[in-house]
């Protein structure tokens, strides 16, 4: 089983005719995702390798029954694209775009609170339910169907984690990159809540990083609500304070948001924290088979 994406996913790609959009769309198709439509304003009526392109999301939904959208629209237009998808009743919106202005995301986040749409991202690799559907830019082949759920604020770091899990023989139910921005559509807790409702997810890996207090809140949530074992990892133990480490959200302010404090809280809440990324796979094997 899996959460949010799977065999029922009918994917629409906003910005399908751009270089990135086209490339990753075809990667998703190749993985087996049911890509039903694309949207690029002004290119309605064209197609991308047989996938029909529409002018508006509403048209695309009406014509193809799309229920999930993946967004590759450039930052100045990305907030509008997210709002358009929500307005058209898309259930799951996955925004890959990096560099959306903070005020735009503030408005989008509040606008979505009043809608039925769920947003993943922005500035994220997307979501994959191995063997069923890939909605994002992660490399498909490192994944393997299985029962471990992975949630992460990062991109390639997630691939590293998944790679080690797969190498140890642990497949994944669903892997989600929630994105490295300070304002993201779905946070750790949203994902954990969904995994808690998935009987076939028997273990979880949560990959955090310095900055903010999302990991602390997630840990408290895990203590109260999550029955399966959870492995935690935090990147940025050696990050200097006051510097933004690539991700807009990855910054230690004073003594708050440090890796050490996050790890302490996670341990307190019963998570199995692995501090050595190089041995994360083995560590997980110890926990998930133990």
């Amino acid at each position: 089983m899996s959460i949010w994406v799977g065999n029922d996913t009918r994917l629409l790609v906003q910005g399908i005719t751009g270089t990135e959009g086209r490339f990753h769309t075809l990667q998703c198709v190749q993985y087996g995702t049911n890509v039903v439509a694309g949207v690029t304003p002004g290119k309605g009526g064209q197609d991308v390798e047989g996938i029909p392109v529409f002018n508006t999301v509403r048209e695309a939904v009406a014509d193809t029954g799309a229920n999930t959208s993946m967004i590759f629209v450039p930052p100045p237009f990305a907030a509008d694209a997210i709002l358009e998808a929500a307005d058209a009743g898309i259930d799951l919106i996955v925004c890959i775009t990096e560099g959306i202005p903070a005020h735009d995301m503030l408005r989008v986040k509040n606008a979505l609170a009043g809608s039925t749409s769920r947003l993943i991202g922005p500035n994220c690799p997307g979501i994959i339910s191995p063997g069923a559907a890939k909605v994002g830019i992660m490399p498909g082949p490192i994944h393997k169907p299985g029962s471990i759920g992975v949630i992460s604020r990062s991109g390639t770091l997630t691939y590293e984690v998944v790679h080690q899990l797969t190498a140890q023989g642990f497949g994944q139910s669903t892997c989600i990159g929630i994105g490295g921005d300070p304002v993201v559509g779905s946070n750790f807790i949203d994902c954990l809540t969904a995994f808690a409702g998935d009987n076939e997810t028997t273990g979880l890996v949560m990959v955090g990083e310095i900055g903010g207090n999302a990991e602390e809140e997630a840990a408290a949530f895990i203590r109260e609500n999550i029955k399966v074992p959870v492995v935690g990892f935090i990147a940025g133990l050696t990050a200097p304070p006051g510097r933004r480490m690539g991700h807009a959200g990855a910054i230690v302010s004073g003594s708050s948001g440090t890796a050490a404090s996050k790890i302490a809280v996670m341990r307190d809440c019963g998570l199995h924290v692995c501090e050595e990324l190089g041995r994360l796979g083995e560590f997980c094997a110890g926990i998930f088979t133990g």
């Binding site: 503030l106 830019i137 490399p139 990062s154 691939y159 990959v207 050696t238 304070p241 480490m245 190089g278």
Partner: protein, 387 residues
């Protein structure tokens, strides 16, 4: 992107907010001229991106020409290292000369997007002129926090909450509300990540004056604010970090001697961590991006090599959509082109990793390939210890 105080004040003045009259000067002579023109007392303030300038001697008051001359001489050209500059010094190229104010009271006011709650946050306090984090720690009851839903926007009741909270009355109440409204509009319309007025002075003649101004603009939003983009002051940047930005690379200089190049910010941080755990010291954080290509690898190399402290290099790439063989080719080309002399450990994983390793091994370069992350970290740490 941070603005200088004088830039922030020009922005505020343009929005109809009351700032002291002042002039920017980039020489002692011009500073003295400015003070003469504005009259005394005059404040002479170092224009660098650093909080806590006052305590560090970057702000001086001059009561006459002699003092203006002495203050300007002391400040212009000085290297300012404050409690908020994290060890790094800022050289002062310019000062802002301002009319001195007769101050009765100092308030604190700031507005910022609060990303955790996805709301706009107004912070105010009667304890102006102090570090607000200190006020929050010692007398939290003197801090007023008002959250505004960005879709609903600033309402009259928000203004009242802040103004009553500060104990304002009569005309000052109204003036303050007008000021807060303008400041809020400015923060939203100009995509500011922070607008901080500390202190917001109440003068002896009961005016409100924005005495200091700290503004941070959202770099991601500069595409719609060409005028603000033009305010960027490259002299405040670390030259290597500025160079990295040109190539869309995320680079941060650190104290060690092991240069790192990684694709993806999270993996880059974790790579620094693992180097340290293995006993090494990273010289930098360098994220070439999740979707790095051969050209970015080359630019990354150039950056690493231009740092004289870098004595060994660890490349850690998780090939995703970008194939490892393509990357390996890029590494080989760049290393050859730049006649690389330093020891380099390469760890590649993901799509076409084996083919990538073969390319590296066959290149004739002295590249050390690693088998997994742990192996890579141990190899580079061992090398670094032997330097």
């Amino acid at each position: 992107m941070k603005l200088h105080e004088f830039q922030a004040k020009e922005l505020f003045a343009g929005a109809g907010l009351p700032v002291p009259e002042g002039r920017v000067a980039d020489s002692v002579q011009r500073a003295v001229e400015a003070a003469e023109a504005l009259g005394y007392p005059a404040a002479i303030k170092a224009q660098v991106h650093a909080g806590g300038r006052g305590k560090a001697g970057g702000i001086r008051l001059a009561r006459d020409r002699q003092e203006a001359q002495a203050s300007a001489e002391a400040i212009i050209g000085m290297t300012l290292a404050t409690a908020q500059t994290a060890g790094r010094g800022h050289t002062v190229h310019r000062v802002l000369v301002e009319q001195g104010q007769q101050i009765k009271d100092e308030l604190y006011l700031s507005i910022l997007p609060d990303r955790a709650t996805a709301s706009m946050m107004i912070i105010a306090s009667t304890e102006g002129g102090m570090n607000i984090e200190e006020v929050a720690a010692t007398t939290p009851e003197r801090i007023i926090r008002v959250r505004v839903n960005p879709l609903i926007g600033l309402q009259p009741f928000h203004l009242r909450q802040v103004a009553f909270g500060l104990g304002l009355q009569g005309d000052q109440f109204k003036t303050f509300c007008g000021l807060l409204q303008k400041l809020y509009s400015l923060v939203v319309s100009r995509d500011l990540l922070l607008a901080e007025i500390n202190p917001l002075a109440v003068t002896e003649d009961d005016r409100l004056v924005l005495l200091d101004a700290k503004v941070e603009v959202d770099s991601s939003a500069l595409f719609r604010h060409k005028d603000l983009a033009a305010l960027h002051d490259p002299s405040e940047d670390d030259p290597l970090e500025a160079e990295a930005k040109k190539y869309h690379l995320n680079y941060i200089r650190l104290d060690g001697n092991i240069g790192t190049m990684v694709n993806g910010a999270g993996l880059a941080m974790a790579t620094m961590d693992i180097i340290k755990q293995a006993g090494g010291e990273p010289a930098n954080f360098l994220d070439v991006g999740g979707g790095a290509n051969a050209e970015m690898i080359e630019n990354g190399f150039r950056l690493l090599l231009s740092d004289p402290d870098v004595r060994a290099i660890l490349i850690n790439i998780f090939g995703g959509i970008l194939r490892c063989d393509v990357l390996a080719t890029g590494v080989v080309e760049a290393a050859t082109k730049m006649a690389l002399k330093l020891p380099v450990v390469v760890r590649m994983e993901g799509t076409n990793a084996e083919e990538g390793s073969r390319i590296l091994n066959d290149s004739g370069l002295e590249l050390i390939t690693a088998d997994g992350l742990q192996d890579a970290a141990e190899k580079i740490a061992t090398i670094a210890r032997q330097l």
